[in-house]
Symmetry: C2
Amino acid sequence: MEAASADIGTLCREASVASRLLASAPAGKRDQALTAIALGLRERTGEVLEANRADLDDERARELTPALRDRLSLDEERIEAMAVGAEQVRDLDDPLGEVLEEKTLPNGLRLEKVRVPLGVVAVVYEARPNVTIDCSALTIKSGNALVLRGSSYAERTNSALADVVRDALAASGLPEDAVVLASGGGREALAELATREDEVDLLIPRGGEGLKQALKEVATVPVIYAASGNCHVYVHEEADLGMARAIAVNAKVNRPGVCNAAETLLVDRAIAPEFLPLVLNELAGEGVELVGDAETVELSDGTEVGAASEEDWDTEFLDLKLAVGVVDDLDAAIEHVNAHGSGHSEAIVTQSEEAAGRFAREVDAAAVYVNASTRFTDGFEYGMGAEIGNSTQKLHARGPIGLRELTTYKYVVRGEGQVRG
Amino acid sequence: MEAASADIGTLCREASVASRLLASAPAGKRDQALTAIALGLRERTGEVLEANRADLDDERARELTPALRDRLSLDEERIEAMAVGAEQVRDLDDPLGEVLEEKTLPNGLRLEKVRVPLGVVAVVYEARPNVTIDCSALTIKSGNALVLRGSSYAERTNSALADVVRDALAASGLPEDAVVLASGGGREALAELATREDEVDLLIPRGGEGLKQALKEVATVPVIYAASGNCHVYVHEEADLGMARAIAVNAKVNRPGVCNAAETLLVDRAIAPEFLPLVLNELAGEGVELVGDAETVELSDGTEVGAASEEDWDTEFLDLKLAVGVVDDLDAAIEHVNAHGSGHSEAIVTQSEEAAGRFAREVDAAAVYVNASTRFTDGFEYGMGAEIGNSTQKLHARGPIGLRELTTYKYVVRGEGQVRG
């Protein structure tokens, strides 16, 4: 069956109707649909690859950078990875129906706080077609309907993938409109989607700053913005310096273009003369461009370190570039991190339990690490099975957004005729 | 000490600094401050009443309706009730530090998901001065700093109450700026408060539609809007009709001006001829203005029932007025409630477990009642000790907003040098 190509308003209404059916569908059926998605992907790999080739051959795709073309490209291995991903989500615990709280009130009312789906989740994404499957798997498992809006570059690929999902839903006795795909329509369609308050319960943008800003201007539905990460590694005076070096280097160079990569290294003054020359040399050896405060530059021992501007401490480089600063002590480090960090992932390296405890308590961030790399903030790494994004907001979901973060709760209260006096 | 009378921006910055100190203060100190608030209120009752008299005597207060003057008025009893309220909040379990999840990841990282304060909560409220104390108690207990913006009518009263709170904080070794009071400045000050994204983590408006609309237009900080309640009582064909009558009448007349009062009564066709004449007669006897669909009017048996307009089914009357409709069956009732309800509180009266289960699952609302009045949706009734408002949003907090709803969480991850491969 073809994914519907109706206007956004119609798609949202269809998804909303489907969401009510999906919300009361048993876990068995939702899991069956995920099995059917995996099977469908394997059986229809050729069809998906053909659609993907057409997208790549399209003249619109010619203007893409090699990196973006790579993101858009599928092969058998990538499709198999999507199938395995859907099976992994299927095998997670059902998040629905969990009783979060249960009590009998003095008047005899029996109160249950029960986990239920949000309803309709909308995801706006750019080139990667795997998002089509990843988000479908997470929303189906969590009993939510999904409105997808992908990039026009990936139109045919996303449509082929959405067809697999919708057929799997139908084959499992679930409404195929539980996943609908919109494409085209530009900024107007985006604005329409972001203001369907009666139908869309949550919108998650997965894209760059341009998309974020466009949404901030128009959205009236709740949005969880993908996190930006200005993350720090702080090396305390009581750190194991070998460990500190390994963590600082890993947090920066393991994958510099992602939000949980480190952007600033802070070093206690007491150990700076011993630690800085070694770590700066190692970072430079990994191709990292270094900028630092005056003390760092002074202690760089031949490694090239530029002068850091005020702006550098607030910048998410997303690249092989690192700002390095010397701080007085733990207090100064906490103050610096809280002043400049984006509340994503912050690490301290120390053998002192007391310093670790204070840093963990007083640093205001989604994730605080003691003696580990900031790179671990991730739904898969956290054992949540998957993630649909990562939040630095404090309301609703903080950190990785997995299955449970796609739910809300309701109170179900049972009585025998109680009325209020 | 006088509550600061600085501009909103300064107050927000002060509250933000204080919030970090409060967040790491032990439960003992936060509880001590609540004890000191209760004591302060009792010792300084005269001072508060004098301020209240000055507000009531002010020419600005002359334009207030008698109902609003009553809301603004304090007496010894009302002040004692605030003191008792502060003590009750003190005696609730500490919401902070709770470990929501704890696991060791395959790589040996030990992950804890820990409940922490939001940071700075802002509350904008209208005439009732008790909000000053209620919100202070809830935010201090939950480790949050509070920016209060009260009505200019209650300026002196709120200021006297905020002084009691700030002195109690200082006497307990906590920063007095953990509670700051702003007043005046009109819509501009409100807009300023609603856009302090770097300092304000949550804004809760407690006021009418005008305030809500004003905020919707300008707010960039997260806002949880006080719920509007278009609540239904549905009498299923298998209901105990005596119980149904008591619940319908209570839900409407117990306190018609609040959000958990019923606005619509739905009755299954099978029992309408038996049930409607009795319940309509009883409701009319309680002074309720009735409007109904054609079948209800026909079955009214002499009780005056006007013709309901299409709009009536979507209206929160907040008054002694009720819309009454006959429905085919459970399916039709669920459809009506989901189409017209505001997702606040919805009740079914039935002896059928199956019907109750379906209504509870399929109705999309913060609270669903089986054989009980909708009037129970309330933080006190739910044993949460208190509430700062009530939410019909699905994200973060749904239903009563108590201590736990004023918190977020952070991941604290401890390792021995783990880096990502």
